[in-house]
Structures are given as C-alpha cells and as structure tokens.
C-alpha cells in the first residue's frame, strides 16, 4: 500500500470528473442538469488548481479556485434566474425545446 | 498515537452520552418550563416530576408504526432524516468545553477534534443540514411538506448571511478561526472583575452582535418565532408531516441538537466559553455554593405540603445536590469540572432563553420573516462587522 499519493492520481481524477461533466452537458436533456454538469466541470478544474498549488507549495492555486467558486456562485444565481424565466415563459425545462435561436 | 486514539475514543463516548442525555432531558425541561410559563404543571406522571418522561417518549416513538407514504421517493424519504440527525450531531465535535488538561500523564484538550477552521466547519455543516429538511419536504410528496421544505430552505439561506456575518466580528477580535483560540482570547479580566468575553471585550464589545447572532440562531434552528417550516396551523407539521416513529424522532433530535450546538457556539464566541464570571480562586467555589444553595432550597421545599411524594423526592434531590457540591469541592476534580460547569451554565442559560422566548413570542408571518432577515438583520450584522473591523484597525493594541 502506497503511503504517498502521486500527483497524477489527482490529475487523473479531475480529468475523469471533467469528462463526466462534459458527458452530462452533452447527453443530459434537462436544463438544470446541464447546468449542474457545468458546475461539475468547474469543480474538476478546481481540483487541478489545488493539486498544482500543492505541488509548487504555492498558494496562488487556492486563490484561483476560490475565485472560481465565487464566480460559479454568481453564475448559478443568474443562471437559475434565467432558468426560472425560461420555465415561466415556455413551461418546459427540456433543453431541446429551447431552440428559438434557430433561424 | 495509541494514547491519542484512546483518549479520543473516551472523549467521543463521554460527549456522546452527555449530549444524548441533554437532548432527551432538554425536551423535558422545555415542557416543564413552558408549562410553568403558562402556569401549568407539565409532565408529572412518569417518575417524580415526570423525570422519566423522556424515556417514555423514546419508548413510545420506537413502538409506533413506521408509515411510508405511497408515492414518496423512497430513497430520499429515508435519506432525509438520516442527513438531518447526523449533521446535527456531528457539529458538536469541534466545540471545546474546557482548557487543556492532563489525564493519565498525557495532555489533551477538552474537545473531540480541534480544527483550526472550526468555525468554518460549523458553518459548513449548518449549510449542508438544509438538505435534510428540504429533501424531507420534497420526497414525502405532500404539498404541506413541500411548502415546509421550501420555506425552510429559503429561510435558512436567508438567515445564513447575518449568521455568518455576525460570527466574523468576534473572530476579528480573537484573530483566529479555531474555537480554542477564540476561547483563549477571551481569558482574563478588565480591572479584575469585568471578564474579557467578546460581549465585553474592547475595542468593540459584541453585545449587539450577540443579539443578532441569537436571532439568526433562532431562525437557523427553525424555533419559534421563526418556526414557519413546521407552522402547524398553516401546514400541519411542515416538512415532517409524513414522518412517524423513529424517523420523526430523528428530526426531533436534530432540532434539539441544533439548538444545543447553537448555544455552545454562542457560548464559545460571545460568552467567553469556559472562562468563569469571577476571577479565580472565587470562581472555583461558585459551583459548590450553587449546589449547596439548591440543596437548602430543596430541603425547605420538602418541609411544605407539596404534591404527593414530594416529601420523599425533594430531600433525595437535595442530597444529590449536596453530593454534587462535594464533588465540585474536590480540588483534584475542580480542574476538570469547574470549566465544564461554567460552560454548561452559560449554554444552559441560552437554552433557557430559547424556551422562554418560545413561551412568550407569537410566530412571524412568512413575508415578515424574509423582510426582517434581509432588510433589518442583514444590515445590522453588516454594520456591526464594519464597526468592529474599524475599531480593531484603529486600536489594535486593545486586543
């Protein structure tokens, strides 16, 4: 059993999580879930930030992930408000129903 | 390592036992106090003065039929009470009840796990514990439950801001995030008689902050006057309408555990944790004196014509109290027990306030609740924080 964990374990984990996030984004059909997949990707990136900041023993990575969190919070507020509005106006959360951007 | 492990296990066991008993009896106390506020007698039948009532309740809850609504989402329906109670219980583990003491030749702190971001831990747990209620409300597939769940989640989010903000001010005074550091920072006295608790501490006493904290705490624990999620006359029993027997008990326990946690946090942050009201050495003898006084009062009471059996039970209680007094008088034990006594008395006072207010205040209306949170409490917390920061920046030497 290994006492010390190699960095690349963390990186691989975050890569996998990121991939899952992308998959969710592409394959899920509810707007809310798609939104959550974005959050998942952000988290994965945060993990890499913190990992590298551990590797370099430099705290900047933490700051970056902190900022990512803050921005994610703001984004969630606005995004959910938008989702609410969409639901009010169109009565659906199916992402494929929301295609009025089409010419 | 082994010493550490053993001590930790012992501490966990102790704290858990005491905590559970407290929860059980807190509810008894609440019923008694409410009863006397409303000039009733409260539980009497089970045991002397209903002292065994909690056991009876536990028995009752265990033997009740465990209902599950037909269209409920099974998994979440079962998960919700679990989340609620476990999170409520876990947060007690970072609260320090006393100073560093030596046991079996080793040294240890009077807390289960010291965390140097203890406050953040408490906040995190509190933040998560919304899910218990929200999920319960949603999963039991009942409109009243859903309303209750929505209300409580909205309420908890709203009151989390003033709660968090007002916590920051004593942190500024203590200049640390760990509970132990905060407690230590409140040791000592001004002019040997005013304790340096946060509510008295220069450069900016936190009395105002303490009040705001208490109000927000009431809301966080869904207590009257903020118990909208379970406002029986509006939504039957709120989020736990559909819950019965042990699952209901979990929510019940969770609520009281949260109360106790809030009380402990308030004690640690504002009321100087275990630091006594009077400087040593007097403070070491206060507990004994209190218990002796209690014993005397009980003996006098037993003289009067009370209820049937009082003339037996009161002297027994008195003897017990005397026993406590003796225990607290033993110098060797004092080092362990006196801090705990002070801590417990402060927390107990806060808990009593909880019950007291429940007995006195009516319930808010929902919009009033939100309005109050955002337009009054939040600015108050903000102003308090700003003033504290300003004063700390201006007079750093006062700290």
């Amino acid at each position: 059993m290994i006492e010390h964990i190699p960095i690349w374990w963390y990186l691989t984990l975050s890569a996998v999580l990121f991939g899952l996030g992308v998959a969710g984004f592409i394959y899920r059909k509810s707007v809310i879930t798609v939104f959550m997949s974005i959050e998942l990707m952000l988290n994965a990136v945060n993990l890499t930030f913190v990992t590298f900041s551990y590797q370099n023993k430099n705290i900047d990575g933490h700051i970056y992930s902190f900022f990512v969190m803050v921005v994610a919070a703001a984004e969630a507020a606005v995004g959910l408000a938008i989702i609410l509005t969409i639901f009010k106006n169109r009565g659906t959360l199916q992402i494929d129903e929301i295609d009025s951007m089409k010419l | 390592m082994s010493f550490f492990l053993i001590v930790t296990l012992v501490k966990i066991a102790l704290v858990f036992a005491v905590f559970m008993t407290t929860l059980a009896y807190l509810q008894w106390v609440e019923r008694k106090v409410l009863a006397h506020i409303q000039s009733r007698t409260g539980p009497l039948r089970v045991g002397p003065h209903g002292l065994l009532q909690p056991l009876a309740d536990v028995f009752k809850l265990l033997t009740k039929e465990d209902l599950m609504p037909p269209h409920a989402n099974k998994f979440f329906y079962l998960l919700a009470p679990f989340i609620a109670v476990s999170l409520a219980l876990v947060s007690i583990s970072v609260i320090p009840f006393g100073p560093e003491v030596s046991v079996w030749g080793g040294k240890t702190f009077m807390e289960i796990g010291g965390l140097n971001v203890g406050i953040l831990f408490i906040l995190a747990v509190g933040a998560i514990s919304v899910y218990g209620i929200a999920l319960a409300g949603w999963s039991s597939n009942n409109k009243y439950s859903l309303m209750g769940g929505l209300r409580s989640s909205a309420q908890m989010i709203s009151y989390e801001l003033p709660f968090t903000l007002v916590i920051v001010s004593p942190l500024l005074l203590a200049n640390t995030l760990s509970f132990r550091g905060i407690a230590d920072s409140q040791a000592g006295y001004y002019w040997d008689f005013i304790p340096r608790w946060s509510i008295f501490q220069l450069p900016f006493p936190q009395i105002f902050g303490f009040i705001v904290f208490m109000i927000a705490g009431f809301a966080e624990t869904n207590r009257i006057p903020f118990d909208l999620p379970e406002a029986e006359n509006e939504l039957v029993a709120g989020f736990h309408t559909e819950y019965s027997s042990m699952k209901f008990a979990c929510f019940f326990m969770a609520e009281y555990a949260n109360m106790v946690t809030i009380a402990c946090v308030a004690t640690t942050l504002f009321l100087g944790s275990w630091h006594p009201l009077f400087p040593a050495p007097y403070s070491d003898w206060v507990p004994s004196l209190v218990f002796v006084g209690a014993a005397l009062w009980l003996f006098l009471q037993s003289g009067k014509i009370g209820r049937k059996g009082d003339h037996i039970t009161f002297p027994l209680f008195g003897i017990a109290a005397l026993g406590f007094a003796v225990i607290f008088a033993i110098p060797f034990l004092q080092t362990y027990l006196v801090p705990i006594f002070w801590f417990a008395s402060k927390a107990g006072f806060i808990l009593f306030t909880y019950i007291w207010i429940r007995g006195t205040l009516p319930r808010f209306r929902y919009d009033q609740l939100m309005h109050f949170a955002w337009t009054f409490l939040f600015p108050c917390a903000l102003i308090n924080l700003l003033l504290t920061a300003l004063m700390v920046a201006l007079f750093p030497e006062q700290k």
Binding site: P6, G19, L20, Y27, S30, V50 | A127, I128, Y131, L146
Partner: protein, 169 residues
Amino acid sequence: MDSILFIIAAVAAIGCGLNLVLQKHPISSALSLIGVMSSLALLYLLLGAEFIAMAQMIVYGGAVMVLFIFVIMLLNAGAEKRSDKSLFAQIAGFPLLAVLVVLLAFLIRETPFPSKISQVQFGSWVPGGSAEAIGMQLFSKFLYPFEVVSVLILIAILGAVVLARKEID
C-alpha cells in the same frame, strides 16, 4: 492511510459523478453533485487546502446546490424525457468524449513530474492553505481581482433579482 482516504474519496467522487450523468431525475443528479463536492472537499483537506475545503462546503454545498434544489422543487422538475433532436450531439458526442479522455490521460502520462515534490502526503505542507495565508494573499497580491469579483457579485445579484421578478414575461 492517505491512499485509503484518497481512494475512498476518489471512488465516491467518480461514483457520484457517474450517478449525476446517469440518473434521470434532476434531484438525484443534484444530490450526487453534492456528493462529488463533499468528496472533493475531503481531497482538498488531504492536499492541505483546509480553507478551500470549507469554502467548497459552504459556497457550493451550502449556497449553490441549495439554490439548485430549491429551483428544482419550485419548478417541480420531473424526470427528463427522451428527445430525438440534436442528432449531431447524439452521434458525435461519445467519440469526441472518448478522444478527450484519451488525450487528457495521454498528456498526464507524458508530463514529467519531479518525483520528490509530486508526492502528496497529508499534513506535510504547513501552514498550507490556511485561512490566514489565503487572506494575506487575497488582500495584498490579489486585491484588485478581489474587488472586481465583489462588483461582479453585486451585478449578479441585481441581474438575478431583475430576471426572477414576477412581472417579467
């Protein structure tokens, strides 16, 4: 010890992530996302980022996800239906995904990590990401970003309020 904790957390994270993608009901996805976040918080603790771990729990777990759940309950969003639209995504999505994963794995494998600093050991980095250190950085080196972000948040709040108002249509 570390590796056990890591493996537990990682497995939990991946499992919850998979659950997020596979579940059909938004609330299950939300719960599994919370699971991912909690296990990530544990990993942060292992990496000596205690502040970030707590912030993760408070901000993501306490605020963002509660919002999600709140909205899901409010809209009473049911399980999602199949749809035959956006064929391109249906067809090309998976291969691209596979390419992505392979590419990332390849890059990670190929990147040379200096072995001695690339070993994570719990508690080996003191003070690490303690709240104090973060605060120091945040208010000295990253002051302007910090201020800008605060303005951003203000704007976001206003935007959310405006968007979610009743009379919007």
